[in-house]
């Protein structure tokens, strides 16, 4: 899957390791939650970066105590209508203060980029044909935000009631 970060197609330094496949000796890997829990010590001992994949029924608290060790938390959208990942992303950023990469995987579509970005996602595994142009269009489509969220974009509420001179 091509990876979009900051709106650019970038090489993906991470390798997804499926649950039934052996972890390679070296290199940054993203593993499933179950493996992370069972093989945590050996994964950390490798010395290379580790990330964890969460399914949509998992919650942010499933990895809350491990965040210092995780370079990526990848949140799955099995279908784009499964909105649980949005809450998990916000909780990772806002409740748990996670500053690593939050990556959207699965059914990731341009029409949802902006919502994801607002919830704290900053990396997107997109469909083969999706381009940086799609990204720009999607992210620039709306410039007014009623809600404060995880991305620092200023809400309408805040814009309306800025203290003068602040």
């Amino acid at each position: 899957m091509p990876l979009l970060k900051d709106g650019k197609r970038v090489a993906d330094p991470w390798v997804h390791v499926a649950d039934e496949v052996a972890v390679p000796a070296t290199g940054a890997v993203i593993v499933g939650l179950k493996r992370w829990r069972h093989e945590r010590a050996s994964l950390l001992k490798r010395g290379d970066p580790v990330g964890v994949r969460l399914k949509s029924m998992h919650t942010a608290s499933d990895v809350a105590d491990d965040l210092d060790h995780l370079g990526v938390v990848a949140l799955a959208l099995p279908v784009f209508t499964d909105g649980r990942a949005y809450t998990n992303a916000r909780r990772l950023r806002e409740r748990h203060g996670y500053r690593g990469e939050i990556r959207a995987i699965g059914n990731v579509l341009p029409d949802q980029y902006l919502f994801m970005l607002r919830c704290g996602f900053d990396a997107f595994e997109v469909r083969a044909g999706d381009t940086e142009k799609d990204w720009d269009k999607a992210v620039q489509a709306i410039s007014v935000f009623y809600q404060p969220a995880a991305d620092g974009r200023e809400s309408a509420l805040s814009l309306r009631h800025r203290t003068p001179g602040a």
């Binding site: 209508t81 909105g83 809450t87 709306i142 410039s143 009623y146 809600q147 309408a156």
Partner: protein, 558 residues
């Protein structure tokens, strides 16, 4: 009423262009119907039996005369010259072309209207009391809070893909005209003993396949915490609401499965972490929005003698007296009254209004009610601020339009979904049943003798016609290709909410009006002095009605 600022306007304008691009991609064949469907639904565009259907949001039912004229113009230019008011205080166009919907939305944006989230699995149009700002029993204007919720819930980044649709209603009066107990979240404005005004939050009400009455999850919520509390509640629902079965995905099922106490614990925990965060409402914002719902410049002094409604011109004309007694409600300002425009005359489709009528109603609103119109969830219109000495000329003008039938809350004031005449989900027709019942009970004196009787018809189990909440509810079902109608009794939408109970086997289309008549006759035979249909039903239960409807024992209900 609320006027958009530059930010509100920009968002709606941008959303129109975003949708224009999505429509263009669909028309060019770049995206499939499966990909397009969720996108169009997020903008209120359905594909029904005969055509697309565009559901235009009317936040808390408030319309200006300028907006209503624009709606008239849109129905003429892009549709077939009429629109349909819904139980979510929205307006549906039944014949828009896909290729023209972006232009319709652009025209709507010119008058600060949109169709954002009138469908899809997210927040729907926020509804409120149609008497807000005018009701005698109001603690505080529900529209202020409905508007605050409208903004927070519009294009919410976290909650645009909820397990299922989500409906919120607000009432500022203890007498609930907004059916808040049948909403995913119902908000009741309360005054605490110490004088502080805040909210009771109800959760888990709903109709549909599994009707449930909302339960209190928080008895009192201070005003500034409204959004942080709602966000906490929605967050728990987003994570825990069922996604494996669309019929079990509404929050009412989560409330049922978890229990209200468990849900309350989870929500309070979530809320306590965030309540003083950026969603805490600054007083300046509450004030900004409150100002926009300030009272219109009433022309009678507060000290003016208030003539009890029903006595203003009673001597002149008994028909006027009937109308004034039934369709006019008391106003909190002396010298003013609230007028209901019935969209349920004998020859009408419940809730439909033609373009010419929209223009005429807009003109009357300018003359008689400060240029403002409300749509009620009962599919009628309201002029909220009419001078009592204008009632007679207004009544005459409404009579010319056929909008003065004195049947508010009577048996012919039927809530009715579009049914199989329009709807792709329907099992049976509902509008012709409503019309036949109106015809049977067309004698208005007879209706007044029967008194308050809320009859509600849905064409399928999704219950858009609120049949569970009808004193008499009628549900259309398909029996091997034939239209049948199941009757429920004893439902009620107000503060004493109840869910109607099925009275027995369904009736064939040809028999359903007779069945309604038999129910009414039973009531008239058993009622005590001054007892409404609902009170009588609650006193005696279903037995006498069953007996009358299904006299032979072998037809008795299991």
């Amino acid at each position: 009423m609320y006027q958009y600022d530059e930010l509100d306007q920009r968002l709606v304008d941008e959303r129109v262009e975003q949708f224009r691009d999505q429509v263009a991609r669909r028309l060019a064949g770049e995206i499939t119907e499966d990909e397009f469907k969720p996108l169009r639904l997020m903008n209120g565009l359905y594909l029904q039996l005969h055509a697309y259907m565009l559901r235009i949001g009317i936040p808390y039912g408030m319309l200006s005369s300028v907006q209503l004229r624009k709606l008239a113009q849109i129905t003429r230019k892009y549709d077939r010259g009429y629109g349909h008011f819904t139980t979510r205080q929205c307006l549906q166009l039944n014949w828009p072309k896909l290729s023209e919907t972006p232009d319709i939305l652009a025209e709507l944006a010119e008058v600060q209207m949109h169709a954002i989230q009138t469908s899809g699995n997210s927040f729907r149009n926020v509804t409120a009391d149609q008497y807000a700002g005018a009701a005698t029993d109001e603690i505080e204007d529900s529209r202020i809070w409905a508007e605050i919720i409208r903004q927070w819930s519009t294009l919410h980044p976290e909650f645009s893909f909820l397990p299922r649709k989500f409906k919120i209603a607000v009432t500022g009066s203890p007498h609930d005209r907004a059916a808040v107990r049948f909403h995913d979240i119902g908000i009741v404005i309360h005054k605490a003993p110490d004088g502080e005004v805040g909210f009771e939050i109800l959760v888990g009400g709903g109709l549909g396949r599994t009707p449930m009455i909302g339960q209190t999850i928080r008895a009192f919520l201070p005003k500034k915490h409204l959004l942080s509390y709602l966000e906490a509640l929605l967050r728990i629902y987003n994570l825990m609401g069922r996604r494996d079965n669309k019929y079990k995905a509404r929050i009412k099922i989560l409330v049922f499965e978890l229990g209200i106490e468990e849900l309350q614990t989870l929500v309070e925990d979530e809320w306590n972490r965030n309540k003083d965060g950026p969603l805490a409402l600054p007083q300046a914002e509450i004030d900004r929005i409150t100002r926009q719902f300030s009272a219109p410049p009433w022309q009678t002094p507060a000290s003016a003698p208030n003539q009890p409604v029903g006595a203003v011109h009673a001597f002149e004309n008994p028909a006027f007296e009937d109308w004034e007694r039934v369709n006019v409600a008391e106003h909190k300002q002396p010298g003013y009254a609230i007028v209901n425009l019935s969209l349920k005359a004998l020859d009408r489709v419940p809730g439909d209004l033609t373009a010419a009528e929209m223009d005429a109603v807009a003109d009357l609103a300018d003359r008689f009610s400060f240029g403002e119109i409300r749509a009620s969830h009962e599919q009628n219109l309201v002029f909220a601020h009419v001078r009592q000495d204008d009632l007679l000329p207004l009544w005459r003008s409404l009579g010319v339009l056929g909008l003065s039938t004195p049947n508010l809350n009577m048996i012919s004031d039927i809530i009715c979904c579009p049914g199989l005449d329009y709807c792709a989900l329907a099992s049976a027709r509902s509008i012709p049943v409503a019309q036949r019942i109106s015809m049977r009970f067309q004698d208005i004196k007879r209706q007044h003798n029967i008194g308050e009787l809320r009859l509600k018809i849905s064409g399928c189990v999704n219950a858009c016609g609120h049949h569970h909440a009808g004193h008499i509810g009628i549900l259309g079902v398909d029996r091997q290709g034939e239209e049948f109608y199941q009757i429920t009794l004893g439902g009620n939408a107000g503060e004493n909410a109840s869910i109607g109970k099925i009275i027995g086997p369904a009736f064939a289309s040809a028999d359903v009006v007779d069945a309604v008549e038999a129910i009414v006759a039973t009531y008239l035979a058993i009622r005590e002095v001054g007892e409404t249909f609902l009170e009588a039903y609650r006193r005696v239960g279903a037995a006498p009605f069953k007996q009358r409807l299904y006299p032979e024992p072998n037809h008795a209900v299991a």
